[in-house]
Symmetry: C2
Subunit: 194 residues, 2 copies
Amino acid sequence: MFKTIFKKPFFQPAGSGPSAGAASESADQAAELLMTPAALMPLTLEEARVVVRYMQPQLVAKGTIFMRQGDGRDTGFMLLLLSGEVTVEMLVPSRIEPLVITLLGPGSLIGELGLLDGQPRHATCVAVTPLRCAVLTREALEQLMQDNAPVAAKLLLGISVRSGARLRELTDKLKMYAQLTQAMEQEIGSRVNP
Amino acid sequence: MFKTIFKKPFFQPAGSGPSAGAASESADQAAELLMTPAALMPLTLEEARVVVRYMQPQLVAKGTIFMRQGDGRDTGFMLLLLSGEVTVEMLVPSRIEPLVITLLGPGSLIGELGLLDGQPRHATCVAVTPLRCAVLTREALEQLMQDNAPVAAKLLLGISVRSGARLRELTDKLKMYAQLTQAMEQEIGSRVNP
């Protein structure tokens, strides 16, 4: 669905002309959300503003499925969520309803894995509310790497840190499931041999 | 346990002097393993060799616990495994034996999350066999970012891609567990109300 964004204008630098108002506010907000304070070498606000100039503003209507599990063609972008909420869902063979993996809010990066490795999308993302986003395409990232490698390196470090936080989170969930299934196994076992 | 590595020599560039033999072979191997072909903008062999010059060779004896779950002090390094095998284990409250999360072989990156965000180690890593590794410290990464940002950016992109692959893997495991617990719930339910 984001094929159209390639023709869209980029964010303008903050304070660039009288008509810049709302867009420039979004650009500032995008820069602040990109900073990833958890990283040990985070982007400064000024560096984050450089990244934002390679991004495009995008509105998404409520209810839109803007990323589809298994889609291997439309992988060339990631979104930074500025406002609104998104559910991340996965189809599970034995269930009719998809499994809701997580709910994402402002500041979340969405689709960064596909952007970097081009693999098919691993989950489906649905806009639960209207969304305001900043889009980074693969072409724009490549251009940023060429134009300003130090800033690109810090951005990629920030992306790694976010993936890392999700990895830790998922590992904890997995640990919880391992405990749960063990308890259930015991429950089933005790009924077979009471 | 890797506090000592900070005094160790770095890998020498390939073919640097007559005594370089084994170390230079390891350096070449490290460079090849760093290339991450899954990334869309992978390191070239030449660029990977640049990274390796910021790494230090390290041998680890069989049975060594070289990373400990919960350790928040010794997080300033990651390992690239050149040869040998490592188990990644987690302590789970209800179990006496730790849960073996995965077995890692040559080419694996270990500890890259802590390197980038300084958070306590999330799992325990044990050398199942003797290991040959290449170590990248946080100081060396910062130096690489200063000296050669384009190569650092591609390295960080490669790290992101690897984290991404692990995220996809963990998500699949989680999906499997979700199905398993659902089946077990039904099993338990059917016995209560046969």
